[in-house]
């Protein structure tokens, strides 16, 4: 069944066991989920008021922190989109540890 040209079909499903967040999204049949990884070691800290999956987030916004002692380094949204899942607050992470599962906005999706 084909979608109308101006319709976006989003399918949420279980991800392969290897997916850190157990979450898969296919948009018009193509996987569009991306993972934001830790750029170095530290403790992952969530925002005090984390973004909900319904809130559009712009590229460059702070979506969480990598804590080193009392210092909080920003984890930035790499593109416009939505934050769907996050690592647990306080998790010890290293370089490349998945921190966020995000849905990349296609051009024009975020007004």
């Amino acid at each position: 069944m084909s979608a109308a040209p101006d319709t976006i079909r989003i399918a949420l499903g279980a991800a392969p066991a290897t997916d850190a967040f157990g979450l898969a999204v296919r948009l018009d049949g193509a996987a569009v989920l991306e993972t934001v990884q830790a750029e170095g070691p530290g403790l992952f800290r969530a925002l005090e008021t984390p973004f909900t999956p319904a809130a559009p987030v712009r590229a460059g916004w702070v979506i969480g922190f990598l804590a080193r002692g009392p210092v909080r380094l920003p984890v930035l949204m790499p593109c416009d989109g939505w934050v769907l899942a996050a690592a647990p607050d306080g998790a010890r992470v290293g370089h490349g540890t998945p921190l966020f599962r995000i849905l990349r906005a296609r051009e024009g999706i975020i007004p």
Partner: protein, 324 residues
Amino acid sequence: MIEILSPSGHASVQDAGRFGHRHVGIGSNGAMDGLALKTANLMLGNAAEAAAIEVPGVPMRVRFLADTAFALTGADTGATLDGRPLPRNWRDFARAGEELLLGHARQGVYAILAVAGGIAVPPVLGSRATHLRGVFGGFEGRLLQPGDRLPVGESTAGPGAFGVVPPEKALPLGGDAAEATTVRVLPAAEYEAFSDEARRALWATSWRISGQSNRAGYRLMGPVLTLAEPIEMRSHGLVPGVIQGPAGGQPIIQLADAYTAGGYPKIGVVIEPDLWRIAQTPLGGALAFRRCTYDEALAAHDALESHLARIRIWLATCGLGAAA
């Protein structure tokens, strides 16, 4: 240069305070939350006593007229920079023309907006703090108004963006009731002159902060604190933190804009390292007093200084010194 676009009702320029003039009736003034000021200055590589804008609780919009590194500490105002949300206790970088919006405080009361280089108003008697009663210091000795353009000092601070852990997480004071902020208190000179009942009530009461409270002092609502027998006192020196028991019986805590002398008997004094906790408790909120010893007060002072030192060391470790 920073331009005030829409002011918070009582925003003012404050620094770490004006000291050495109490004997001639000039109090310290300075930021209500001195820890927030020091933290913001640390994040920017400023001198600890550099002046900043203190924003009490209500929205304010400012425009940066030049590229400026800035830090926001103290109350959580849900601030945005040209629409981009900024986390709490955060340092960031504004491009010329960008607008910073501080919203209603979601947590705490007094926000500090500091800029790299400090707010460069002329110092008066060694300080840039606004003395509102004396109409000197700060920006023209008054509260900020729309259209005010505040000079910013020289700085080589770069565009780094980072934050530090909120103070209530770094310096927890166990026993904080959900609805009362706990602060440590030393018995003051006339403590023994109050009735047994009053002394018990001091420690046992959750004191509500009255709406008749401001930078000069907080009036508390709770049981009447009576003296064991009437005493006559001469006026004596006051410092921020002193808890007076006036004739009406409802205690007053003297704060940053406190008068320098008064005649009410003093039942206690909130230790200086806990004054920031009072500053961040809203009117209508409650305070609980925990008795402490002089040694415990000194230890609290050391703990606060260690917290700041730890931030300084970790900033250096992360390569986020003054030039971040």
